[in-house]
Amino acid sequence: MNYTKIGSIEAIFLILVVILNHIVLNLPKNLLDACGSSTPLNIIYISILLFIFLYFVIKLFKKFTNSDIVDVSEFLGGKLLRNIIGILYICYFTVICSTLLRNFCEILRIVYFPKIPIYFLVIAFLLVAVIANHFGSNTIVKANLIIVPLVMINLLIAFFCVAARFVPEKIFPILGYGFNETFISGATNIFAFTGISYIYFLLPMLKESKNFKSISFIGIGISTLYVFLSVISLLFSFSDVLSINEISPIYFLVRSADFGRFLQRPDAIFFLGWILCLMSYLSISILFITKIFKKIGNLKDRKPIVYISAVLIFIVALLPKGMVEIRFIQNVVFKYSTIILVFVVSFIILILANLKYKKTHKLPNKEGDL
């Protein structure tokens, strides 16, 4: 399937689109709640941890060219482990995707469409994602290439639109809620970077796999920069961010933007960019879900699975009853599942697979010696 290979810049944007979507919704608020005013420090600390982790992951992937995490788990534990990991990842992607979708649709409903039932909006997004998947993976990645720069500029403007009101002293007290919360339990804030889960699947899709290292580092680097900027702009402009739970902190920011007397309340324009971003993310998620399905089910064609996964996401998106449950899923389920699945389980699998690889490749030598 040569034509489904993607280039390096497209891969970088693929990783980025995940973090951009999370920033729009609730991610900065989650981080701020955990660490208070020391969140910038925390983010710098986490980025360093993340880069070290990434370095190890890339090193461990060196032996397995052209295979993703599902293939590695097959090498390690046979079909059973492959199926388990595949199903875990499918559930993970589905839950994140549907929570994001539901959250965003709730925001849209509150702000712009009070009388439309929620499933209309969810269906609208899913319909577009299904159409996108019909065009093929190459098209989705290329459309992503157009959309992500737009959204990046959109978010940059959103961060700095209230720059006149920044109070840099809000970074004090420097240790926020305490040293413990900042560094030790604050390390769990690494869940913000779900982009890593896409890196695990990226290797077989690349045209030039020797660029894997630079792609991952650049992608994650820009993600950390954006998370940092979002946290800073929220922290410095509002003090109420620490005491009030709003539906979307970035939306709150953009509402107060004042570009002079001519353009006031420009939030609709920002929303256009965020809508495009979410659609792109949905298409990519369905793409990955169907790819994993295809692998673990040994299917010939992944197109029919698209409908199934769309219906699955629709059902899961409508499961929570209200914002409280959605918040719970986002704050607790998302956080711990990311840490466990992406950072712990996959890492262990990689290490074990490497050990097994060394063992199987040492044995022939030993026999040859004899």
């Binding site: 009101r165 007290p173 305490g178 509002f238 003090s239 509402r255 007397r261």
Partner: protein, 413 residues
């Protein structure tokens, strides 16, 4: 035949979707069916309930009307309702007027003094929670009742009330007698642990409300007025001058024009302003200076046992506006004298202002807390210190340094 069947099915599906989509559940905010409120006023009603006034704009009068000035009845109308909460008030009004009320172009929210003394936190949260309200609308505390305020606000130089409300607070850019406070800024300060919130002070200026202050010093009389006290002889109209100081969500005091100027100097918000000091060269005469900030004001806060010790370094730059026959203000010696006078005048005013807000009002509207917080390591320590309560124990040291640059067109006579 199979592909034809498929086509028919898909066409049918598309049509059904279109039917459902076009069934009217979206067309809620059609532009023709909305009435736009330009200003909202909140008063205390009878039985201690709410009395809301809405100033609605009449769009027909805003285009080609031939009347020379614009009377209020031309392009807007004020409706007042007694109700128990903001949402029910909106509901009641909707049943009275022909179109649905929409608050997305509201420019000004007015609270009456009486209402503010009781505490405005519930209205504040409700308004911030509302999707339609713009967070950058101005918030005004009026010395008369809010409905009286709205009814008497006649735009002198504009046709539309909306534009009038937008432009009016921007006078703070060049007079510094008030400040353009927006709802989001108010809300942010309200939730802040560093500072307290404040709002614009407004009132209706009629003959009856002119200041009866008979102080000897003429120059002090000008800036020392609060809203609706300035003796301007014209028809009754709104006047925004001074600030309303809050502690928590309750109004605790008011600041006059000159005190607002001091506030702006300390918080680095001063653009340009004009003050009058008594002339050191001639008795009974005044010299007007145009002030701006030369450098940013440096504030330092040190926490001592007896309370916070606040240090302020202020640098101002002035130009001389008044000229007289035989005036040689720009001689070196004269400049030094003038600078000393200006320094002492400004220092005195700022000390008065600072002790007023700390001792009388106990409200840190200048936000000194942000400089104090760097002395703490963790958030809990800061909360335990309780800055906002401790502010009344603070003592100040102010350093004013004025630099007189030049005059305007005439340098010497």
């Amino acid at each position: 035949m199979k592909s034809g069947f498929k086509k028919h099915i898909s066409l049918f599906l598309i049509l059904t979707i279109c039917l459902f989509s076009l069934s009217g559940c979206y067309n809620i905010y059609n532009i023709d069916h909305l009435a736009y409120a330009v200003a909202i006023g909140l008063d205390v009603g009878k039985n201690n309930e709410l009395k809301i006034s809405f100033q609605l704009s009449i769009p027909g009068g805003s285009s080609d009307s031939g009347s020379s000035g614009s009377s209020q009845s031309d392009n807007s109308v004020v409706n007042t309702i007694e109700c128990s909460s903001i949402a029910s008030g909106i509901n009641l009004l909707n049943s009275y007027i022909s179109k649905e009320l929409n608050l997305s172009h509201c420019k000004v929210i007015v609270f009456s003094e009486e209402f503010a003394y009781k505490g405005i936190s519930q209205s504040l949260y409700t308004l911030m929670n509302n999707v339609q309200i713009r967070p950058d609308c101005n918030i005004i505390i009026s010395r008369c009742s809010a409905s009286y305020f709205l009814e008497n606000s006649k735009p002198l130089l504009e046709k539309l009330s909306a534009r009038y409300y937008e432009v009016a607070p921007s006078s703070s850019d060049y007079t510094a007698y008030t400040e353009s406070v927006t709802l989001s800024q108010f809300f942010s300060d309200f939730n802040n642990t560093f500072s307290q919130c404040y709002a614009i002070l407004g009132g209706i200026n009629t003959e009856a409300t002119h200041s009866t202050d008979n102080s000897e010093n003429n120059s002090e009389k000008d800036a020392n007025n609060k809203a609706n006290e300035t003796s301007i002889s014209s028809k009754a109209n709104i006047e925004n001058m001074g600030l309303a100081v809050f502690s928590g969500d309750k109004l605790v005091g008011e600041l006059s024009g000159i005190e607002t100027l001091c506030h702006q100097i300390i918080t680095n918000k001063l653009n340009v302003c004009t003050i009058s000091i008594s002339s050191p060269f001639e008795e009974g005469k005044n010299i007007s200076l145009r002030l701006r900030l030369k450098d940013k004001t440096k504030n330092k806060v040190q926490l001592t046992d007896s309370g916070p010790y606040i240090n302020s370094d202020i640098r101002l730059e002035a130009r001389i506006l008044t000229m007289d026959e035989n005036s040689q203000y720009l001689d070196e010696k004269n400049i030094a004298v003038l600078e000393k006078y200006a320094n002492s005048y400004m220092t005195e005013q700022i000390y008065e202002y600072l002790y007023k807000i700390s001792k009388e009002y106990n409200s840190d509207i200048d936000g000194f807390g942000r400089y104090a917080v760097s002395n703490f390591l963790t958030w809990d320590d800061w909360i335990n210190y309780n800055w906002l309560d401790n502010f009344k124990n603070s003592f100040f040291k102010i350093n004013v340094d004025t630099d007189i640059k030049s005059g305007y067109i005439l340098m010497e006579t």
